[in-house]
Every structure is written in C-alpha cells, then in structure tokens.
Amino acid sequence: MLSTIWFVLWGVLWAVYFMLDGFDLGLGILKPFLAKTEQEHKVALNAMGPFWNGNEVWLITAGGVTFAAFPGTYAVMFSALYTPLMLLLFALILRGISYEFRGKEDAGWWRKTWDLCHFAGSFVAALLLGVAFANIFAGIPIDGDGIFQGNLLTLLNPYGLAGGVFFVLMFSVHGGLWLANKSQGKLRERTAKAIKVLWGLLLIVAVAFLSFTWFATSLWRNVLTRPLTLLLPILAVSGLLATRVFVARSNWWKAWFSSSVTIVGSTLFGVAGLYPALLPSSLNPGFSRTAFNTQSSPLTLKIMLGVALVMVPIVILYQAWVYRRFSEPVTVESLVTEDLY
C-alpha cells in the first residue's frame, strides 16, 4: 500500500515538474523565433523570471523522492541513463545561468551568446526528458544486477526520439501560451499565430506517438486492465482539444490550463501504464525495477509520506501566491522602471 502511494506521488511530482518547467523550457525554445527586438527578448525572459527557479526545484524534488522512496530504482535509472542525464544537467545549467548573465553586459555578442545558451539548454532539456521518459515507458536493457547493457544509441531509438519530439512540441505550445498571457501587442500576435501552427503539429505528433506507444510499450495494455486509469489518456486528449478551443477564443489563461491538463494527463498515463514498474527491463520483465522490489523501508516511506503530505501542499500554496502576484503581463514600461533580467 505504502509503495503504491509513493508510486503515485512519484508520478505526480514528475507531472507537476513537466507542467511548470514545461512552459519555461517551451518558451526558451520559442523565444529566438518569436522575439524580434531586444525589448521583446526581455519581455519573454521576464515572463518566466519570477518562476523558473521555483519550477526547477520540482525536478530536484522528483529526483530526491526517487532516491528516498525507491533507492534501488534511483541507482539503476540514473546510472543507466548516465550520458543523457549529464547532458540534461549541462543543458539545465546553461539555461538557468543565462537568465542571470544575459542582461549584465550591453554588448550584442554577449546577449546573443546567452540567448543561444538559453535556447540550446531549453531545447536539449525538453528533448532529453522526452527521450528518457519514452525509453522508460518502453523499457531499457538492464540485467538482473541492474547493469545497463546498452549505450547512448540504444536510447536514441525511434520511439525514444518520437518521445523527444512529442515533449518539445508539447512544451513549446505550453510556453507559447504562457507568453501569450504575459505579453502584449505585436509579440502576443506573433505568439498567437505560432501557437496555432504548433498546436496542429502537436496534434499530429501526439496521435502518432500514442499509436506508436501501442506497439512499442505495454502502457495501453496495462491501462486497459485497470479501466479507471483510461481516464488519464482521455483527460490528456480532452486537454489538447480544449487548448485549441480556448486559443480560438484568445482565452489564453484557460488555454494554458488546458495545456497543463494535457501535460499532466500524458505523464500520468505513462506512469499508470508502467505500474508497478518504475523502470522496466526490456531484457526480462523479472529484471524490472518496480515499486515492490526497490522501495525503501516502511519506516522511511511512512516518515517521508508525513513530510510530503505536510510540505507539498504548503509549497503549492506559496507558489500559487507567487503565480497570482506576478500574473499580470510584462509591460514595456516595466522594463524601464523596474530592475528586471
């Protein structure tokens, strides 16, 4: 029971991370294409300014919870995915530091350099998270001792890459919607146009990825054995469709929330389809790392559950306050009168 609760929490933490940092990463990918002037670059950066750092902590928490609740999975997952994780770390480091460094010098080459780092970091992070999770959904070649019997190319298989493309597009739409909320004038118009195109692409890729999932993984079959979990992919698809409806009405906040439903629904669909495995082995199902062969001791799981049940709602409360407090668009005037990125 405890293991199952932690499995669910584990999935929820990843889903929240993707929902929140997803828009930062997506906007990081779109920014070079949408922002034409220095002012617009600043609007886009400051649209994420007060949030990206707090959002990234959800990744640290998701990693920390994997470590604390399922150390046997943490050890195998992180060492098996060594190279992609290192690349993810470098990408996130470059992405994060660009916010702080970019505005600290006026030279054009300086700003272009950090713009490039910000874009590359965002793109690579989104792509790798997608590749990693698609590989987790499909299973990776780990043997009975938890040793990875493959290399980087093993992970760059067609399904893994499809997952990467899916994440990049899903986050791009999400980030575009965030910018539509937080910008005005020409930048918002350009963003709105881009969202419509990207949404079309996302729809195609989502359908393709979900179909591919039927052949490449056992997610669908697992979900079908527990019909209630079928609601998750339905939720994801409804969110995707609702996004377009709200985009058509230029109702950007509702569109953004719908897009959040898509991200959370897709992630939880994958997680539900994995259950009880956290990291399936493609060599032999018996070698899979699951919630029941890699979990921590009952005492640790109980204590950590107490911590999570008290702290996570508090975190959500104060982060929600911050989101409300800084919800208004970044105006051109504020770029002049306030000390921003």
């Binding site: 300014g49 007060p50 750092n53 707090g54 990234e56 902590v57 640290i60 928490t61 990693g63 920390g64 919870v65 994997t66 470590f67 604390a68 609740a69 150390p71 046997g72 943490y74 050890a75 195998v76 997952m77 992180f78 060492s79 995915l81 060594y82 190279t83 994780l85 290192m86 770390l89 470098f90 996130l92 480091i93 470059l94 994060g96 530091i97 916010y99 702080e100 460094f101 600290k104 938890g146 990875f148 921590s296 001791s297 005492l299 640790t300 204590i303 950590m304 911590v307 999570a308 702290m311 996570v312 975190v315 104060y318 982060q319 911050v322 407090r325 800084f326 306030e338 000390d339 921003l340």
Partner: protein, 443 residues
C-alpha cells in the same frame, strides 16, 4: 584512470565548485536581510541602496550555486549508484526533506525578492529576504546532516543488504551533525563578512560612497569578528569529536604515526607517508594533542601505524588542509579584531583597508580546505566504517565518465570565470546613486 578515480575527480570538481558559491549565499543573505531591516525600521536610504547593491552581488553568486547544486544530487545516482542503493533509505530521505522543506522556499522567494522591489509593501519585501536567509540555512542543516551521517552513521540497522532507517531523530540530533552544521555555517558567515568588508574597503580607499560603505563595512566586520572568534572556540569541539568517532582522520590531520600517551603538537612538521614518519618535526608543544583531543594531557592518541595502510586516509592532503584551515582561522581573529579596534577611523588607515581587500579570498580557501579535510580524511570510507568508496561506484564505462569529467571541467571553468568577472564588475561599479526620485518610489 578507472571509473572510481574519475568519479572521485568529477565529484571533487563538482563539490569544490559548488562550494565556492554556497557559503556566500548562506552569509550574505543574512547581511542583506539585516541591511534591509535597518532600512525598513529607520528609513535610512543608504541601507536600502546598500541592500540593493549587496543583493545584486548575492544574486549573481546565487544563480551559479543553484544550478550547480542539482549536479550533486544527480551524481549520487549516476556515479555512485551502489552507494545510492545502499543508503537511499536514509541519505536519500534527508535530501528529499531538504528539497521540500527548504529549497523550495529559498528558490521561490529569492525571485519574489528580486522582482518584488516596489511591488510588495516594504515589510512583505523584507520578509522575503529573511525567508531566503532562513531557508538557505535550513537547507544547509539538512545537507550537512546527510553528510554527517556519512561521517558518523547512527540511527540505522543493516537489513536487506543495505542501511535502513531506525531512528530519524537520532540522525538529526546527533552531535556530529550539529557540530558540522554550526562549523560550516560559521565558516560561511566569516566568508560573507570578509566579502562585505573587503569590497567596502576597496571603495573606501577610493572615497566612493563613504557613508554607505562605512555602514556596510561595520556590519560585515561585526559579523566576521563574532564568527571568527566563535569558529576557533567551536572548531576545537570538532577535533574532539574526531577523537571519538574518526580517530584515523585525527591521526592523519596531525600526521601522527605512533600511538602514544601525552602526545604533543609540532608547530612545524612535514609528513612522509612512504616511510611512515614525519620528515620534519620541530617546536613541539608537549601533551597538547592529548589535551585537545581528550581533555587529558596524558590521554592515549592512536597513530596511523595502528591502521593497515589501506585503511588510512591520504595523509598529506588531510594534514595540509587542516593546517591551512586552522592557521587561517587564527589569522581571521587577528585581522578582524585589529580592524574592529580601528573601526571608527578606518578610513585613515589605507594600509589596513588594503589588507582587508586582499584578505577577501582567504575565507574561500579556508572553506575549501575544511571540506578537503572532512572528505579526504574520511577515506577509504564513503560511509565511515560500513561502506568503502571503492565499493560505492556505479557499473558504468570509463569513456562515459571520462567525457563527463572533461565536460564538467570545461563548463565549470567557463561559468566560474564569467561569474567572478561579473562579481568583480558589479562590486567595482558600486551602488546606484542616491536620488530623491528613486527614494520616493521605494526602489
């Protein structure tokens, strides 16, 4: 090099680098909070401008501390997977608690503070920087508790082939953790104090913003003086607990080879590990080591020869880092005490001001050597007495780790250079000039 030593190198690079930025975060957050508190209570605009000036440097430093912290957490899984599987039940929990209890607060409110000037009421804005300061220090508490558990594991039992939690309270309240925490934050506060003092002194030498920098210098100096004194007295307790918990580290840091009673401390000494003796030993203070370690001038202290060669920590790095740290500790007391006596007329002592500028890097060195002693001195153990570092490493290929080590060195060298360049640039630039308008706008 093999996977083990490459992983060690990588962890060392990542940790040293991360800890170049952490101590300033821990201390400067408090100093900025103090300055802003004075501003809110007295309305003295110099303190607002000071808080903004030091706050800017704080943020440049903070950014790199944050992004390099993730690396450390992930590296336990990527490079030390056997360790992770072995201790995740305890160590992983402490890291996860740190993230949920403290790190969220720190990361969320630092942004509110930065973006909130003029948007929040002065009191709400002040609350944000205090939240950042307290949360950073709570964060340090959990991380250091986790490290203390590697130094001196308690509250666990060996079950299912791993260390499992039996008593969280014992882990959190053990003396080792408490001492490690106060010693580490004490060092961080000294560093932050010297940082503020050094940069203020630089500006005072150039007669820039004399009022503002005299006020800053005074706050930084008081902080550095108090914690320099504290660190010396308290540091002694850390040596004492080593006698009880990690006698091999104690022997290595003193380069003591033979077990004996009434052991002296040699002021001048140089270890020779190959021949298991000291090449130089001079100026002995009789019985001091026995006295310091065990409160008994005739107490027995175990020498390195009592341990098999493969159970000894590397002697030279442990010995040197300890000597450098302690020497600097005493120097900090002397410097800060001298500057404190002269504080009223410090602008008339350009020599002292220059000395304070040049002393700025020294606490960085002290912090790094302190960690060198803590970690190198614990070897060959990763968890003292129950798991060796050589048994902890991941089953990964040499080429993977080799490439990532090179990547870390390159990326970190570049980021470090840029970050210190920006710190220098904005430290020299000084605060925004005082204007009636900006004061009226509360910015």
């Amino acid at each position: 090099m093999d996977v083990l030593n490459l992983s060690r190198l990588q962890f060392a690079v990542a940790t040293y680098f991360h800890f170049l930025f952490v101590p300033l975060t821990l201390g400067l957050s408090i100093l900025v909070a103090v300055m802003e508190t004075i501003y809110v209570r007295r309305g003295d605009d110099d303190y607002r401008r000071a808080a903004r000036f030091w706050g800017k440097l704080f943020l440049i430093n903070f950014a790199i501390g944050i992004v390099t912290g993730i690396t450390l957490e992930f590296q336990f899984g990527t490079n030390w997977s056997r360790y992770s599987a072995f201790v995740g039940d305890i160590f992983g929990s402490l890291l996860a608690i740190e993230a949920t209890v403290a790190f969220f607060l720190e990361s969320t409110f630092v942004a509110v503070w930065f973006f909130g000037w003029g948007k929040l009421s002065p009191k709400a804005h002040l609350a944000c920087i205090w939240i950042v300061a307290v949360a950073s220090n709570i964060s340090a508490f959990w991380i250091l508790t986790a490290n203390a558990w590697m130094q001196h594991p308690v509250g666990y039992t060996m079950r299912n082939g791993r260390a499992e939690l039996t008593d969280l309270i014992a882990i959190v309240t053990q003396k080792y953790a408490l001492l490690e925490f106060i010693h580490t934050v004490g060092g961080a506060y000294i560093l932050a104090g010297f940082f503020v003092v050094g940069i203020s002194a630089w500006h005072l030498l150039r007669k820039n913003e004399e009022f503002l920098f005299r006020k800053s210098l005074r706050i930084g100096l008081a902080f550095a003086l108090i914690f320099s004194l504290f660190e010396i007295l308290q540091g002694h307790m850390n040596a004492e607990i080593l006698g009880a918990t990690q006698p091999a580290k104690l022997a290595a840091m003193e380069s003591l080879w033979e077990t004996g009673r009434g052991v002296p401390v040699n002021l001048v000494q140089w270890p020779n590990a190959a021949e298991e003796r000291n090449s130089i030993e001079a100026l002995a203070i009789p019985k001091l080591l026995s006295l310091l370690g065990f409160y008994d001038p005739n107490a027995e202290v175990k020498g390195l020869k009592d341990y098999p060669r493969d159970a000894r920590p590397p002697v030279l790095p442990s010995f040197l880092s300890f000597r450098i740290m302690v020497g600097l500790g005493f120097l900090f007391v002397a410097l800060t005490a001298w500057a404190w006596i002269k504080r009223e007329r410090i602008v008339d002592s350009p020599g002292l001001l220059r000395l304070l500028v040049w002393s700025l890097p020294l606490p960085y060195l002290a912090c790094q050597t302190g960690w060198t002693l803590a970690e190198v001195g614990r070897q060959p153990w990763i968890v003292y007495g129950i798991m060796k570092t050589s048994d902890a490493v991941s089953p990964i290929s040499v080429s993977q780790v080799g490439i990532s080590v090179v990547g870390f060195i390159l990326v970190y060298a570049l980021l470090g250079a840029v970050d210190f360049y920006l710190l220098f640039k904005f430290a020299r630039k000084g605060p925004q000039p005082a204007t009636g308008l900006s004061a009226a706008m509360g910015r």
